[in-house]
């Protein structure tokens, strides 16, 4: 039996569609991310699982129990809010203990559980502090501890790191994953940051305009995107208009140059077919057995670990990423170069 | 939102609404009963025909406008200057702007009379002198609102950058203050002025001790002692006036909440 089943969920605000036909099966202990741009419906779906929104259609089943219409304070799911939402009038310990004291747990048990949880998030010494005395990262840990203290069946996180500095975000990100795996708790994580989703999740649900675009592992989403939206939303992607020569054999033409792709690509051809390839799959120079094309160098950007080369291919921009090396030999601007990429590294949209 | 909660909300609104409107309704109804047996605007006609009404009304209006002008002239450059050069004084100025609450009107006028009616000022010996004292007192009284409005307005714009930009183009302080900064805080200054004018128009305490029935507040009180219907119509006129001013302010401010602590009590 699926641990958490979201079946055909839909939600409308008046005439505006927020979420439509959302279907997902989550296994116990799995870390699933909802990824997409603002307004795609990911937070709305999360809030339906938490009980703060009621779906217009569909069901939510948790461990076989239908919780679709259950009020939020009876669901035993833990939520971590983007703005932390710590109770300002209570200390850290009291905040964490809140869910337990509501359930009328005996005081000494509460104390013990609170210490336990604070140890896991590494905030034991700050027990008596008040939220206004804590940094953003510390507050978020308290929020996490508070949600985990009640041993929820599912942990829900609504863009928990978006209000934090970049460096803290990366640290806390790893923390969250570590804690999730240690406690083996089923987790749904909402974010608009692809790096977060890719690095944390067992599976990602990519959403756009209220609908699911694709569900898959990070590897699948990145390397085998099933729609143009997913392909261009995740990572950098080159899109180059092509003309069809022979679709069955996978032969296409860019300007006067021809290329070959593996024809086992299942994305349907649109009216204006485009070649899609990631910048890191394109290499400088001639490689035997690969597609070879001539392009002109326009600009070179040094990004640290990566050197990004902007080329012009038959009048269309093409990005090429190369790993940095100390003795890297780079072409000059306006130089004409040969670039190569394998048949399997690209696909046609 | 449970149905029961919404019911309670309507209950409180109803109670409050009753409290707001009943006195107004009663006053209005009373003011229409000047002619026996029939509703008429006789009381209003009598009031508007009373030369003293116009005289006191205009007098208070003049005082109110002077108060607003003097207040702005005093407070606006000061708040601007503090924001620009002396930010450490902000707390002090905020405290000072709360002083009128600590020294209520009755105490203020007591002290003012004691200080300024004798040597070396002798302000109360002449009409002009007394008027000056009156405006000064009103500036003190309306200081909290004027300060708050101007401060809010200045907070919303980047005073330092605007000043530096103007200076780099060769502007002097006067130009900066009145041609660069002032237009950008027009709305706040206007709303503060309206609040000040509304307060001064109906003020009684200070007016009664300094200028007596030359002012509108004491005039209303005098009417109330002799003519009941006219006093009701005056109350309605006064309320409509306050309404107009505050309504204008709300229109200007659209959404920001204005709080006042002292009033024409």
């Amino acid at each position: 039996m699926t641990y958490l089943l979201l079946s055909n969920l839909s939600k409308y605000y008046g005439n505006t569609l927020a979420v439509e036909n959302f279907n997902l099966e989550v296994e116990r202990g799995e870390f699933v991310s909802f990824l997409g741009p603002s307004g795609c419906g990911k937070t709305t779906t999360l809030r339906m699982v938490a009980g703060f929104e009621v779906p217009d259609q569909g069901k939510i089943l948790l461990e076989g129990e239908d919780i679709t219409l259950l009020p939020p304070n009876q669901r035993m799911v833990g939520m971590v809010f983007q703005s932390y939402a710590l109770f300002p009038n209570m200390s850290v310990a009291d905040n964490v203990a809140f869910g337990l004291s509501v359930r009328k747990m005996p005081a000494d048990q509460i104390r013990q559980r609170v210490s336990e949880i604070l140890k896991i998030v590494q905030l034991e010494e700050l027990q008596k502090r008040y939220p206004y005395q804590l940094s953003g990262g510390q507050q978020q840990r308290v929020a996490l501890a508070r949600a985990l203290a009640i041993r929820p069946r599912v942990l829900l996180l609504d863009e928990p790191l978006s209000a934090l500095d970049a460096k803290i975000r990366v640290e806390l990100r790893a923390e969250i994953r570590r804690i999730q795996q240690e406690l083996k708790i089923t987790t749904i994580y909402v974010t608009h940051d692809q790096e977060e989703a890719l690095s944390l999740s067992d599976r990602i649900v990519v959403m756009n305009k209220g609908r699911i675009e694709q569900i898959g592992t990070p590897f699948e989403i990145y390397n085998y995107p099933q729609t143009e939206f997913v392909a261009s939303f995740i990572g950098q992607l080159n899109l180059i208009p092509v003309q069809v020569v022979d679709r069955e054999r996978g032969a296409y033409r860019i300007g006067e140059q021809t290329i070959q792709i593996e024809h086992s690509q299942r994305i349907p051809l649109s009216d204006q077919p485009k070649l899609a390839i990631r910048p890191e799959e394109v290499k400088l120079g001639k490689v035997d057995g690969w597609n070879q094309l001539t392009a002109q160098v326009r600009q070179i950007s040094f990004l640290g670990a990566i050197v990004r080369i902007w080329l012009e291919l038959e009048g269309v921009p093409l990005l090429l990423d190369v790993f940095n090396e100390r003795k890297l030999e780079l072409p000059k601007v306006n130089e004409k170069v040969t670039i190569s990429f394998p048949y399997h590294a690209c696909w046609v949209l | 939102m449970s149905k029961r909660n919404v019911l309670w909300s309507w209950f409180w609104m109803f109670l409050g609404g009753l409290y707001f409107f009943l006195p107004l309704l009663a006053t209005f109804e009373f003011s229409l009963k000047a002619r026996k047996g029939v509703y008429s605007f006789l009381a209003y006609e009598r009031v508007f025909a009373d030369p003293l009404f116009l005289r006191t009304f205009i007098f208070s209006l003049e005082m109110a406008v002077f108060t607003a002008l003097a207040g702005i002239l005093l407070i606006f450059p000061t708040v601007y200057w503090i924001r620009l050069k002396l930010p450490q004084l902000r707390g002090l100025i905020e405290f000072v702007s709360m002083l009128p609450f600590v020294v209520p009107a009755i105490v203020l006028v007591f002290g003012l009379i004691r200080v300024f009616s004798g040597a070396p000022f002798f302000l109360t010996n002449t009409f002009t002198g007394t008027n000056v004292l009156l405006v000064a007192a009103y500036v003190v009284l309306t200081m909290p609102y004027l300060y708050r409005s101007i401060d809010t307005g200045l907070q919303a714009i980047d005073v330092r950058t605007l000043t530096e930009a103007a200076q780099s183009l060769g502007a002097g302080w006067g130009t900066i203050l009145f041609r660069v900064i002032l237009p950008n805080v027009r709305v706040s200054i206007l709303s503060g002025s309206f609040l000040a004018v509304a307060t001064v128009m109906g003020e009684f305490t200070i007016a009664s001790f300094l200028v007596g029935i030359r002012a509108f507040g004491p005039y209303m009180s005098l009417v109330g002692q002799n003519k009941t219907y006219e006093s009701s119509s005056l109350a309605i006129i006064s309320f409509a006036l306050t309404w107009a001013f505050i309504g204008l302010i709300q229109l200007l401010n659209r959404g920001r909440v204005q709080t006042q602590i002292a009033g024409a009590h």
């Binding site: 009980g51 009020p71 304070n73 799911v77 939520m79 809010f81 939402a85 109770f87 300002p88 809140f98 008040y130 939220p131 206004y132 508070r146 | 919404v6 609104m13 409290y19 707001f20 009943l22 309704l25 009663a26 006053t27 109804e29 009373f30 003011s31 450059p77 000061t78 002396l86 004084l89 000072v96 709360m98 609450f101 600590v102 209520p104 009755i106 105490v107 203020l108 007591f110 002290g111 009379i113 000064a136 003190v140 307060t199 109906g202 009684f204 001790f209 209303m220 009180s221 109330g224 009701s232 109350a235 309320f239 306050t242 505050i246 709080t259 006042q260 602590i261 009033g263 024409a264 009590h265």
Partner: protein, 302 residues
């Protein structure tokens, strides 16, 4: 090339040294008019009252005036003033709080909120002489409500009520007190983050538990602070009481007013002491208010 660079920086140093020192003194000149005004029209009168309160009839220094504040008639005036201020502050506070709640969190249509805030802005300013007239027209002996109730068989004045009494004045004060409460407490209610309620529900709390353990504790400093402000507001009120009761109820402000008109206490120093006593009460009120506001701001800053 390096010479040119160092040359430039030393030029800049010279230019800085050439500026008049200290420019900070000139800065203080800018705020001189304001402080001069405050000195003339706030501090001078206040000091004058203070000095007057320490003088006896011959002009000698004495504490007697302050001791005389504890005479029974004056104490009872203080007591009446405090009771009226308390009654109207608490009454206005409660009514104002529930109305503000109704219009922020109470599920009423959005338009009602703006309407209420506008009305509160007007009503809190509608005090003094016209307010007294309005209440006489409502609850006076021939007031509209009095007459209506009499027609329904309920004779207010027979049952001992009078507008020209303690409770009548309190009722009148409420007219500007509860709108003031609404204006002050609405931002505080807005400051209650929706997420707090959701977090509490998420952790299993009922609505009542959320209010009891999170919302009310967070709001308490604001509510108390507002009521203190209301207290001070009523304490210093003069015109309304005078217009309504003609000085019949002996409030401190009325007493001071009579003293200004003529030496009714047979002791001008005592009058000054009364005024200073009032200032002390108001100063105390506003200090407590500031302290409470600091507390709530600290929490809500999170």
């Amino acid at each position: 090339m390096s010479n040119r660079l160092t040359q430039n920086s030393s030029n800049q140093r010279d230019a800085r040294d050439a500026r008049p020192v200290p420019s900070s003194l000139l800065n203080w000149l800018g705020v001189l008019p304001f402080f001069l005004f405050i000195f003339l029209f706030v501090f001078l009168p206040s000091f004058s009252l203070v000095s007057g309160s320490f003088q006896d009839r011959q002009g000698n220094f004495t504490f007697q005036n302050y001791l005389d504040l504890f005479s029974p008639s004056i104490l009872s005036a203080y007591w009446v003033t405090i009771r009226i201020s308390l009654a109207s502050a608490v009454g206005g506070g409660i009514l104002g709080f529930f109305m503000a709640y109704a219009v922020t969190l109470g599920g009423l249509p959005k338009g009602l909120r703006n309407a209420l805030l506008t009305f509160s802005g007007v009503a809190s300013n509608f005090a003094g002489v016209p307010l007294a007239f309005a209440f006489i027209a409502t609850l006076g002996r021939t007031g509209m409500v009095t007459v209506l109730l009499k027609m329904a068989g309920f004779d207010l004045y027979d049952r001992g009520f009078s507008l020209y009494s303690f409770w009548g004045l309190t009722l009148t004060y409420l007219y500007f007190q509860f709108p003031l409460m609404i204006l002050i407490i609405t931002p505080a209610l807005d400051g209650l983050k929706r997420e707090w309620r959701e977090a509490a529900e998420n952790l299993g709390a009922s609505s009542w538990t959320y209010w009891r353990r999170v919302a009310l504790p967070v709001l308490t400093p604001s509510i108390l602070g507002a009521m203190i402000l209301l207290f001070g507001n009523a304490f210093g009120a003069y015109a309304t009481a005078l217009s309504l009761t003609g000085g019949f109820i002996n409030l401190i402000t009325i007493l001071i007013g009579s003293q200004i008109k003529g030496d009714v206490l047979q002791n001008t120093g005592l009058g000054y002491a009364l005024a200073i006593g009032m200032v002390i009460v108001m100063a105390g009120a506003i200090t407590i208010y500031y302290f409470l506001r600091r507390r709530s701001e600290r929490w809500l800053r999170v």
